[in-house]
Symmetry: C2
Subunit: 768 residues, 2 copies
């Protein structure tokens, strides 16, 4: 563990005490979001110390021109990134003419931050003594409204403690912002208008190149000791800034508060000519409702989310805090309302990885959203890829593939590939298979087969065509091989016959054949449309079957395991336990070539295959592969421990499972990888949910039924979670000696518990 300043608490993330070195990390950890926009926990008042400013708007991006050392054919021209948007949170505070700035204040005490996950707000309080001797108490609370998802609200209050003072607030908007992450120091925003209307202020700007129009707007109200007061304003204005200055005299002990209402209205959701009008409406709603009323609605809305998504862990407050933090951040990032949006690896908490969509969505996030939201949300995630199918076909064409083959991008915002490392961009092609098992998982879980004839089959056909062309015949092996790939373990590049990739390709081909035939038989009008669009034929299906059947899978008779790739056994097989700790993490200590020729595995690879295709292998096989690969796994990807946790739990290795669980659930809170200042690991948070539900709960879908095989870590007294299964809400509570299953409403539900079929009814809980 690398840090321990986060105070354990079941429903909150709490920081006590002010330390400059923690500011950037806390800015990530205390981020807020509402699925449509997000805000790092930057201070409202000025701060001259080290900080990483970040305000982000879902779907608003900038295509940053690719930067490489040596261009390779096929590289995309742009890396599309979520960009830092005009600042809406800022409130400059002056007391008797001196700026409040925690970096320059004479002293700071009683500093406390709280991210209240239950109610969905961020609070901060502290006392400070300024250079001019004034002692102040400051409190702020802010949230991004779930109900009005273009709106943020801040209540900020200052109480002078040792004298009467003059306080001025300058709430402002600022579009003169930059990105931390930029390839060429491009200017990302063009400001069109800085305007005001009474106590409302507006900045209209558009992103360069992509021309997303955004109106950032604010309006402010004031109270003294809770009583509304009216103040006249002075305006400070530049080409890209507007501040409204409000000043008044405050007596010692009185509390002067500002309520800032602000937000983004964008052409992503409105006609670009109506943005200011729409912004005015949003501000009017906020002014009418007021801060307290908005906040109490916020609590209700979060209560609704939690009532479905919460996981309760008894007897282990750190584990409890960890899982809630993960669930909270996932919901802050994506609520599934809009099929154009997706879940970036850093959500709205940083800029790394461009804020775009990776295969993480299909492999890690989908199960969480399927089980904790309405079915439509998961379907929206699938539809996102369906809508990008044409671009995926174009992407494959750029790499020389033909005849409607699709290669989904490694990273994307709008369907176009953004990544530019050949070993990833061109070779980490297993991502293409994740699109297909996500469809399988969705259909198995929801029972909604209609997605396949309506949308999924076209994706399956295009992906099958890719695998057909990408596999080549080895005259030596007399089997089909897949050469030059990077598997999920990115610590091997350009290897031949990565087991995970080959197995996935083999399965994708046979799955596509199975469902093409099924749709042809059972959904003839859909099939007619699809056959027309794709030109798929029986001959083509036969060629897929042939490749699938003759796909080579590297296997060692001696070790009795599938090999991660052809050359794995030629490596020096020194386990992680025998590796000098000073050499860890290898991605920071070793040069790339050394990592590549080592046996160390960044994240589950062959074991990822055993996870995705669990029912294709026996538990004995799993044990054998887990025992072989786990000792070489360094888990230097956030996506790794959760898979190992689930498998360790299945194998009954509960101490190990618990260790992996803690690592995944508190990855950011405890900053295992010393990088939380860059933002949170949002997508791996869904892996944490899987660790509990699939790992400790043993949840699977078997024979169209929910199946459980609960196993509890020693440290826990009990745990419980809910699942939305085909529109019925099942609550699962696991205790030391018993499991309790209960249904919120609806028909009886048959489930499997440790292999036995049990009927749960909505009248009473079933104890097992």
């Amino acid at each position: 563990m690398n840090q321990d300043y986060i105070v354990p608490a079941p429903w909150a993330v709490i920081e006590e005490g002010f330390e400059r070195e923690r500011v950037k990390s806390s800015e990530s950890l205390f981020s807020i979001g509402n699925g449509a926009m997000g805000q790092r926990a930057n201070f409202e008042e000025e701060y001259s110390g080290k900080t990483f400013q970040g305000s982000y708007i879902g779907g608003v991006y900038y295509p940053d021109k690719t930067r490489v050392g040596w261009w390779k054919n096929g590289y995309p021209e742009y890396f599309t990134k979520v960009l830092n948007a005009p600042s809406w949170i800022g409130i400059k505070v002056k007391v008797d003419g001196e700026s409040l700035d925690l970096n320059t204040a004479k002293s700071v005490s009683k500093f406390r931050r709280e991210l209240n996950m239950k109610e969905g707000w961020l609070g901060r309080s502290f006392e400070a003594e300024l250079q001019n001797g004034t002692q102040l108490k400051v409190k702020s609370k802010r949230f991004l409204s779930l109900e009005h998802d273009e709106l943020g609200a801040i209540n900020y209050e200052v109480t002078p403690l040792n004298k009467d003072v003059s306080i001025s607030y300058e709430p402002y908007l600022d579009s003169g912002i930059t990105n931390e992450d930029t390839n060429w120091d491009d200017k990302f925003w063009n400001t069109l208008e800085v305007a005001e209307d009474g106590n409302k202020a507006f900045i209209s700007a558009h992103t360069m190149k992509t021309f997303f129009y955004v109106c950032t707007a604010m309006s402010n109200t004031f109270t003294v000791d809770g009583k509304e007061i009216s103040l006249t304003l002075k305006t400070n204005k530049t080409d890209s800034y507007i501040g409204h200055v409000y000043e008044t005299d405050i007596r010692e002990g009185e509390t002067f508060a500002i309520q800032k209402y602000a937000g983004y209205i964008t052409s992503f959701n409105h006609d670009k000519d109506d943005l200011k009008k729409a912004a005015t409406s949003v501000l009017d709603i906020a002014l009418e409702e007021g801060f307290d009323s908005l906040l109490s609605k916020q609590k209700e809305d979060w209560a609704a989310i939690w009532s479905m998504a919460d996981i309760v862990i008894e007897g282990d407050v750190k584990a409890q805090q960890g899982i809630r933090f993960n669930i909270f951040q996932l919901n802050q990032t994506y609520l599934g309302k809009d099929a154009r949006l997706n879940i970036g690896p850093k959500g709205f908490t940083g800029e790394k990885y461009g804020g775009s969509t990776y295969w993480d969505t299909e492999a890690y996030c989908l199960p969480f959203y399927m089980a904790t939201k309405d079915q439509e949300v998961a379907r929206n995630l699938l539809t996102y890829r369906y809508n990008h199918l044409e671009k995926a076909i174009e992407n494959a064409q750029k790499l020389g593939f033909k005849n409607g083959a699709a290669l989904y991008p490694m990273v994307t915002m709008n369907g176009e590939e953004c990544h530019n490392e050949w070993e990833i961009t061109f070779e980490e092609i297993h991502r293409n298979g994740a699109m297909i098992f996500a469809i399988r998982d969705y259909v198995n879980y929801t029972g909604d087969y209609s997605y396949i004839p309506e949308k999924g089959l076209e994706v399956m056909i295009a992906v099958a065509r890719f695998w057909k062309q990408r596999a080549t015949w080895s005259a030596k092996k007399e089997q089909f091989v897949i050469l030059g790939v990077t598997g999920p373990n990115e610590y091997e590049n350009n290897v031949n016959n990565n087991f995970y990739t080959n197995y996935l390709a083999k399965w994708c081909l046979s799955y596509a054949v199975e469902h093409t035939k099924k749709v042809a038989k059972e959904f003839s009008s859909d099939y007619k449309r699809i056959a027309e669009v794709t030109g798929v034929s029986n001959e083509e299906l036969n060629s897929w079957i042939n490749i699938s059947e003759k796909m080579y899978l590297p296997f060692s008779e001696e070790e009795g395991v599938y090999l991660q790739q052809d050359g794995f056994l030629d490596k020096e097989l020194v386990t992680v336990a025998d590796l000098d700790k000073a050499e860890r993490p290898i991605n920071q200590k070793w040069s790339w070539d050394r990592i590549l020729r080592s046996p160390y595995i960044k994240q589950a690879d062959t074991l990822q295959g055993f996870y995705v295709f669990e029912d294709h292998f026996t538990e004995e096989e799993l044990k054998k592969h887990f025992d072989f690969y786990e000792p070489f796994t360094v888990h230097e990807s956030s996506l790794s421990p959760c898979v190992h946790a689930i498998q360790a739990a299945k194998l009954g290795q509960m101490d190990q499972a618990y260790e992996f669980y803690l690592r995944t659930s508190r990855l950011d809170l405890d900053d295992y990888n010393k990088e939380v200042h860059e933002g949170l690991h949002i997508t791996s948070m869904a892996g944490t949910w899987m660790s509990v539900v699939e790992g400790f709960g043993g949840m699977r879908i078997k024979d169209d039924m929910l199946s459980f095989a609960p196993k509890m870590p020693k440290a826990w007294e009990g745990f419980s979670f809910k699942l939305n299964f085909r529109n019925q809400i099942l609550k699962v509570a696991v205790g030391k000696d018993k499991y309790i299953f209960s249904l919120d409403t609806g028909d009886d539900l048959d489930i499997l518990v440790d292999g036995k079929q049990i009927r749960v009814t909505s009248d009473a809980a079933v104890e097992v």
Copy 2:
């Protein structure tokens, strides 16, 4: 062949007719150099069309900050590049106030360029009609002096053809220049002073970061119809420019000429405070000698070079022009006077590849310089690497190697690695072996064993230590393997057990043992010093022997060939002949992954091993490997055809050998790869020399003797070349029915001809 505008001529490169699209290509082809500096064939007068300005100074470089998409541990911070230096050639010409500019002139006719290779100068002539109706005849001639290698001289003359006119010349110096190739648009030069003294002008500047101080200087004289005249000057001056304007009236038919003497005096060779004084001395010498006298000395100096280095080909003027162009450019680039300099892939003709040193020097250039220069020149090339040994050890340390292991850089200027593609920088490690076989080649050819105890052994030990640590034990194969490398064929990356690399490592280890033992026995004082510095021990030698003996070499019993790498036979083995021509060159048509999984070979790889270690393999084995690998070789590296030419000739496949020869010798003249505008392929030109001498001449060293096995292409009547062998000059003339060997001077020389020993004496030629 992609262009054919170069007029065939035995001793000159000639272009006739002015075409704008050819300007940048001709600027490369007509480049001049003197080993210390170089100049692209940019026009003296202003030219507003597309041009690539380039003036370069040997050893003066700029460390351009590395640009990559995704940083990997171990990448170097800088890419060191030869940089465009202040311009010294410019002469602005105005006629009746109108600038002479071939891009805007009303018409241009009789345009002719000649690069006179025999005498070492560039000439140009044309007639032009200006917009103001004046018709002019223009002639220029320029050269970079071999004798005074800080000096260039230009004679530029204008004759008005249809009226009396006023002509002004503005010879100038300009340090406000930029690089075509720059990572971050850095400013490369800082101008310190722009000064003049009578008709001498000076610009003092230094390179940013590296602080090379350079004084660029000029002085000019004038003639009308050959008679010296004196003109008063006006000065045009800015912060980074000085021009001297001379104007006079000239009658129709009279010729007004300017002689511009200019050049670079640098802190590479002088104290930085004495540069202006030294520049004045150089200009004074030039002014005293005058253009004609300097030029006639130039002819003498080139005659001396040619008397040793020329290859005469009878009956094939294109082949003749090709080989002379190659020999000429090599001599323009490097004359071997200074062990701090080396041979960049583009010499002084462009900026690509940074102008630094690659393994090309050891593998391709050394034989040429050994045979056509004094022995000291080749020794200087080896010493260059000896001087960089400490940096090579540091470079290896950065990648995790220990105990004095050295990894020579892929590209360098000062010993530090510059390259930044992991698959090359970290993995194309065979370059390390080239350092060692270069020592072997030098000792075998020159008989100068002293280099090994004095310098070479330390390099051998450090390189052996690298191989020891880089090879790993495969428990599966029970042999040592070398994982994750890029061989000479850069169309495969991160492969396991590249035959060439493994074989080279095996040999380097055993060669180091052999010579450590020999030096210990025969050069005890040297050994004592080396043992103290390196700490080499018998135990260490034994470990090298062990690895060398147990080195795995991939071999296919079925095909009867060594495999380029472990996975080669898994590829789809479609030959180049069966590849659609529209797909070529694959490096421009295919995405990188597709290239990597294809069987296509960029340049000799396994066959490179058969070239370097020719005497380790039988002719039958060579034939087998040539027949296996040649059909997959696309020769998309300039370094490829020469090796294949030599091997085809050895195998008696003369048509093929001749085809390869033409391809290597006229690569730039005929612009096979459509890139000559970027500069010439200097290092591969030495490969052309090898094609003739080793390929068609069959020259080898056997039992300490020169050995020949001449074979002539059908198209030729005969060919001849000279070799400096251990300070004796042997001339070899190959005719249709006979070979003639003659010695310039010295003792009798025993040589082998087609396996038979023959004595050549200095009295008379020997006919065989």
